[in-house]
């Protein structure tokens, strides 16, 4: 991978395609980086609490380095485009919430309508491409305060993710993280076999 890959490109490569939700996540991640004056996470210096599992979260993961696998991405299934980014080093956290807009832009409505279709004809494909271009420009050019609200919050940092021993499930024979296994006398049973 080349050095100097811009955040937007990182997010697109990670997510696989460009979409409005991802771009909103890019705006939030880039804002958090600047606001907290932080570098992308290497080893859990940062922590993200995301209140959605939609496209924007992939921007948080790829740009800020708060990832599912590292354990510094905490998912709360609230269905809200809200991202709290915290820095252990700075002892600061910012909660970024996408503003509610009762009426979507006609471009966005039409784009969603097209994306819901099973297949698009040639004219519709071109229309969807042009709409996405217009939405892209609008989302990346709109002042941040028109898209999101943000505030500093008190944040109690959890301990860094622990690495637990693996034990063997007495039913299927597969390895399972000890705290997830059910103890049955001298044996362990994995959640799948309970």
């Amino acid at each position: 991978m080349c050095k100097d890959m811009p955040p937007l490109e990182k997010a697109i490569q990670f997510h696989g395609h460009i979409c409005p939700g991802l771009l909103m996540g890019v705006r939030a991640a880039e804002f958090a980086q600047k606001y907290l004056d932080i570098d992308p996470d290497q080893d859990e210096e940062l922590l993200a609490v995301v209140e959605t599992n939609s496209c924007g979260v992939d921007a948080i993961q790829s740009i800020l380095g708060c990832t599912f696998g590292k354990g510094n991405l905490i998912f709360k299934d609230y269905g809200k485009n809200v991202y709290t980014i915290a820095s252990r080093e700075k002892r600061r956290a910012v909660r970024i919430a996408q503003k509610y807009k009762p009426q979507s832009h006609p471009d966005s409505l039409r784009y969603r309508e097209l994306k819901r279709k099973d297949s698009l004809n040639e004219a519709e494909s071109a229309e969807a491409e042009n709409l996405l271009g217009a939405i892209f420009e609008r989302l990346m050019s709109t002042p941040f305060e028109e898209l999101f609200t943000w505030r500093d919050i008190d944040f109690s940092f959890p301990a860094k993710a622990e690495i637990y021993p693996t034990v063997q499930c007495s039913v299927c024979g597969e390895g399972v993280m000890e705290p997830r296994a059910i103890r049955n006398g001298q044996n362990y049973v994995c959640p799948d076999c309970v």
């Binding site: 811009p6 471009d107 491409e129």
Partner: protein, 266 residues
């Protein structure tokens, strides 16, 4: 009742497009967005012909599609996925003939000549052309940034230019090559998606104001160029980059078509 029925007037007949419409928003490029009280939405390419507000009728008329003016052009595309080559890699530049970054299988390259422009002077390059495609191998030629251009003579003079980069460099203030008609980047340094990119059109070295510059990208599904820009009094025009892959800018003046390929950094 304040909603209206929307009709499309065509060949003296009126066709009902949507009933109980409560929002009509004219958009760019003769698009009209409408939404009715049931939440149904539609976008049509039309303009408003008449509004009969007492009778709650809005009559649209279709806008005839302008025929696509297809002037076959040539353009250059480096064979790299992310905008530059790494030292030691094969540096191959493809020459294409067609329109809107779509090669035309009917087109024939007519003895095109390729050149490399370096501070010490301009030199012709070996170009292998066959049918509507050509190839230039620059592996032994470049370290850093180089300007490459191709010229195809004829009744229609065609030029294609590109900046080729080997390694990671930052470049500002690219000098014009000196073509009769050319597009140059005003500040070439790792053009990226999500940013504005500015070009300048020069005719015999002098900024060309009011010129139409068309812009497209390699992944477009549009039959015609998706972007049409007009140069300002300094010959400059800007485009916000929203697509992956390379962009192509094209300008026509009198009998010359000149293209510039923007190779994005990633």
């Amino acid at each position: 009742m304040c909603e209206a029925n929307v009709y499309l007037h065509r060949d003296g007949q009126e066709e009902l497009l949507m009933e109980s419409v409560d929002r009509i928003i004219p958009g760019e490029d003769n698009q009209i967005f409408m939404e009715n009280i049931f939440g149904e939405r539609r976008v049509v390419k039309a303009r408003i012909r008449e509004m009969e507000l007492v009778r709650h009728r809005v009559i649209l008329e279709a806008v005839p599609e302008e025929p696509v003016q297809r002037h076959t052009e040539i353009w250059l595309e480096p064979e790299t996925a992310h905008g530059h080559f790494h030292p030691g890699e094969a540096v191959i530049i493809k020459l294409n003939k067609g329109y809107n970054m779509q090669a035309d299988s009917q087109a024939e390259l007519k003895d095109p000549k390729a050149y490399i422009v370096k501070p010490e002077g301009t030199r012709e390059l070996e170009l292998h052309a066959h049918h509507n495609q050509g190839e230039i191998n620059l592996t032994e030629e470049i370290d850093g940034l180089a300007q490459i251009y191709v010229h195809e003579k004829g009744e229609q003079e065609r030029y294609a230019a590109v900046l080729v980069e080997v390694g990671h460099h930052h470049h500002h203030g690219t000098q014009p090559i000196g073509l009769p008609l050319e597009i140059i980047p005003t500040d070439y340094s790792h053009a990226r998606m999500g940013e504005n990119y500015e070009i300048q059109v020069l005719k015999n070295g002098i900024p060309l104001a009011g010129a139409e510059v068309k812009a497209t990208y390699s992944s477009t599904k549009n039959r015609d160029y998706p972007h049409h820009l007009t140069t300002d009094e300094t010959g400059r025009a800007k485009l916000f980059l929203t697509a992956r892959g390379n962009y192509l800018f094209s300008v026509t003046d009198e009998n010359i078509i000149s293209t510039f390929t923007l190779v994005k950094s990633f």
